[in-house]
Symmetry: C2
Subunit: 240 residues, 2 copies
DNA sequence: TATTGGCTTGTTGTGCACAACATCATTCCC
DNA sequence: GGGAATGATGTTGTGCACAACAAGCCAATA
């Protein structure tokens, strides 16, 4: 009975928060990967059925995602994925640029051998990506790279804020690229640029200068946004 | 009937979000002012009765406050106000120091005449405070001053993040001061220092250099934390 | 007397039913 | 025939009852 009590505790109490996090991360990744594109309506009942819970815990997740700016619930209408425009994201990018530099300044953590292996593995994934371009895999690799970089600081508030801003902006890339006329070439170019960035940063980490990592990352984010802006202005709105 | 419908709309639909914000801000201010001191248990039913709603909307507010780090809900125990220690807040302060400087850099807004009047009025409140010190009024003035400063940037994500970090740290001052042996003198000293800071910043704003405002604010936040740390180390833990 | 087991009490988490609300189609009236 | 009111339908917000859980109390027993 003691054991049964323990089991109950593990599956419901600790499992409750784990389940909450699991649903939250799942939905966040989906929104980020445009599996739930902007303006799509998420029905609470569908989500509840999918995750085998009631609407109540789903609503907790939706409230959090709404606070992060990824969703917006309107009474009587539905819960819709927020739309993103490149102009309204300029401020977020400006902030991300500054925060990127802080990661190398505030409580930097020199990665151990295990972390270094992760970085090298990600660099290998980039090399594969260059040989075999794929937008979804690119987006996922970009996301994983961000989380690795975010682990370079011990400043937890900074990590949390950077993560939040990343998920607010990362969607714009896939959205802009998808309506770009020369889609394939743009993807290939961006992947090559990204591969170089990862190589540069991994090299800087191997040297042990995390401040340089911050500088590289800062300039790359700024240039990435500049390219995005150029592409967005060069293509007519698709008003699909 | 048309009018009645409008009234219903105002009191329920738009009023719903307004009510949510009102409850949220009320609780946040109370926690910040130590009306709900750390480790106090907030009962959802009590709050529901006080604000004349059910537990459900209250829980939405509590979920948000938990996401901000001010509360922590534990199943079967209660919703308790998070405790704060000066050591664990060092990272938050490091980040606040950097963000303070960004307010003068990213999309600064030169205040109009109305805003200038607000700043001067707050300076007048500081002068009154020097003549008649009061810890609660000091905390409230500090809060209002922060919001005024936060309005100097048009970068909304920066505003939101700064606000969040402010409410995570502002409590530590009242908490530390309250268990300091020479409480009154410390309050008077801090109020005088604060009054000088406000005077300096208002002067910088009158000149029109918002970047200087950021620098002043940055150094003042850093020095404020240093003083706090010194006081905290100089007083034996009250383990009340 | 110390310890352990169950029990009681109080809290948050969950599920469900209904209200409030928005949207769209339909129908009635001009 | 056109436009506006009205009902149908689907959605989120709310209230309430109950389940899950933790902690403290108390008594029974070694």
């Amino acid at each position: 009975m003691e054991i049964a009590h323990r089991l109950d505790g593990e599956t419901s109490e600790k499992g409750a928060r784990e389940r909450f996090d699991r649903i939250y991360r799942t939905l966040r990744t989906r929104i980020c990967m445009l599996d739930h594109p902007p303006l799509e309506r998420l029905r609470e009942e569908d989500l509840a059925a999918e995750f085998n819970v009631s609407r109540t815990p789903i609503r907790r997740v939706l409230v959090k995602l709404e606070a992060e700016g990824l969703l917006r619930s309107v009474h009587g209408v539905g819960t819709i994925v927020t739309d993103i425009e490149i102009d309204s994201l300029e401020q977020v990018y400006q902030l991300r640029v500054e925060l990127a530099e802080l990661i190398g300044k505030l409580s930097p953590i020199m990665p151990g051998e295990a972390r270094m292996a992760d970085f090298r593995a990600l660099l290998a994934r980039c090399d594969d990506l260059v040989r075999q371009p794929d937008p979804r895999e690119f987006a996922r690799t970009n996301m994983d790279f961000f989380h690795l970089l975010n682990g370079l600081t011990a400043n937890e508030p900074l990590r949390e804020i950077s993560e939040r801003l990343y998920y607010q902006t990362s969607r714009i890339w896939l959205k802009t690229a998808s309506r770009f006329s020369r889609f394939t070439e743009m993807i290939e170019d961006e992947i090559r640029i990204f591969q170089r960035e990862v190589a540069d940063i991994v090299a800087a980490i191997e040297i042990g200068d995390l401040e340089v990592v911050g500088h590289i990352r800062r300039s790359h984010i700024a240039m990435s946004f500049a390219r995005l802006r150029k592409h967005a202005s060069g293509v007519a709105p698709a008003n699909e």
